[in-house]
């Protein structure tokens, strides 16, 4: 889902960069007031965790595999603001250090994965949890993947790289499948972590 350089046109790149920059500024202010001086080490090591977690491959169907995105996981563990910072750091490292995702598309990638992902996940979780916590975690993870795929398709279509009507269906379909894996893994991980902290409090 990482858009490379050259796949977006100028207007899309500029608009998405401006949007994600504004979102990050807001997150940084919010996190500073919540975490205080602990922000850098705590977020840095957890960003490294998300980076590593994205290397967890899981089988999807017919021999193909997907990897974790971690937007909902990060959002549940650190809240949407912290998650957006952590995921942005991961995207920057992937872009500049590993050439995974483009520098001119960095704004778009941050918007799709690091901003939309955790905030939508947070919203879905808050909405669904009144019925079932497990289902809420699962759905938040699934939806965050779908939203990322939708936004990616929309940006590619707006840039004229691919036509909207041809790209949306396959993208969403593939990511609907990947999202199931993301959902199950996120559920198991969140339950485990919560259990740990519940025991810690005792």
């Amino acid at each position: 889902m990482h858009i490379p350089d050259g796949f977006l046109d100028v207007k899309t790149a500029v608009v998405t960069s401006a949007a994600s920059l504004a979102a990050l500024k807001c997150s940084m202010a919010k996190v500073k007031e919540q975490l205080g001086e602990r922000d850098v080490p705590a977020l840095g090591v957890t960003a490294a965790f998300i980076f590593a977690a994205q290397m967890v491959n899981f089988p999807v169907m017919a021999g193909t595999s997907g990897h974790l995105l971690g937007a909902a996981l990060a959002s549940t563990l650190f809240g949407p603001y912290g998650a957006s910072l952590v995921l942005s750091a991961v995207l920057i490292v992937q872009c500049l250090f590993f050439q995974d995702g483009g520098i001119t598309a960095l704004g778009a990638n941050i918007l799709n994965i690091a901003v939309a992902g955790p905030f939508v996940a947070n919203w879905v979780y808050g909405f669904v949890k009144r019925w079932s916590d497990q289902v809420a975690v699962f759905l938040s993870a699934w939806v965050s993947v779908i939203v990322g795929a939708l936004l990616t398709s929309a940006e590619l279509a707006l840039s004229g790289t691919v036509p909207m009507k041809a790209v949306v269906a396959p993208m969403v379909l593939v990511h609907a499948a990947i999202g199931i894996g993301e959902g199950i893994i996120t559920c198991a991980a969140v339950a485990y972590v919560r259990n740990f902290f519940r025991g810690e409090m005792k």
Binding site: A42, A52, V60, T104, A166
Partner: protein, 240 residues
């Protein structure tokens, strides 16, 4: 050669070049630029073979993405699908080439300092520094955990319908998180004990970029600018 250029200039120029190149529409110009740049690198003693091995994976990935775009466009009935895909691929590839050659030819300290100098928000750059430092540690932990799982007879499931195998992956992720959480507490304590008072101070020893650095920058950015001008028809009166 490229190793000697100031990191700020190098990174800034590369990003600028990528921005210009990503608007190119002509296959030939992109191919010409790419050939020119790689030739220049190898002539100035850049370890080209080693570097190419390192970028082979992202190059493969953009090839795959471009192929997907060709497929979708072809399916949607666009007649220029194949050529468009080729242009996409070359744009993405030249970006990989530019950024990676700049980043690989400077130290991590210089890289982070350059990011700050180029206007990336400072807290975010500090965060990136920590991420790089601990990504290595945690990826190694994860790979040992994966190995330990295999050593204990775990066979990865064949699809996500194998819920037990997926739950095992979830537990691995959770255990990794708890380890990283414990580590972040320890790192924080270590920082405190070494005088950390709430803000990371910049330590990188760097002076001002030299004139030769700027000359390099102008030259490096000039070539794609010139090509872009040609592509836009600025010199059409010559060929006419």
């Amino acid at each position: 050669m490229i190793e000697k250029v100031d990191g700020r200039v190098k990174l800034g120029t590369s990003i600028l070049c990528v921005a210009i190149l990503s608007t190119f529409r002509t296959f030939e110009y992109l191919a010409a630029y790419l050939g020119f740049y790689i030739l220049l690198l190898s002539l100035t003693g850049f370890p080209v073979i080693k570097w190419m091995r390192r970028i082979s994976l992202p190059a493969l990935f953009v090839a795959f993405m471009s192929a997907a775009a060709v497929f979708v466009n072809f399916w949607a009935g666009r007649p220029t699908a194949a050529m468009d895909g080729a242009v996409l691929f070359l744009r993405a590839l030249s970006a990989i080439v530019l950024i990676s050659s700049a980043v690989y030819s400077m130290s991590l300290g210089e890289f982070l300092f350059s990011l700050k100098a180029l206007g990336f928000p400072e807290p975010l750059v500090n965060l990136v520094g920590f991420t790089i430092r601990y990504a290595n540690v945690l990826v190694e932990e994860l790979s040992r955990m994966n190995m330990a799982r295999r050593a204990r007879g775990c066979a990865e499931g064949r699809s996500f319908w194998n819920m037990a195998a997926m739950a095992v992956l979830g537990h691995t992720v959770a255990a990794l998180f708890l380890r990283s959480y414990e580590r972040s507490e320890k790192v924080y304590r270590a920082m405190l004990s070494r005088g950390y008072g709430g803000n990371m101070k910049s330590l990188y020893p760097a002076g001002r970029p030299k004139k030769s650095d700027f000359a390099f920058g102008a030259l490096a950015a000039g070539v794609p600018l010139f090509l872009k001008a040609v592509e836009m028809g600025a010199f059409a009166w010559i060929t006419r």
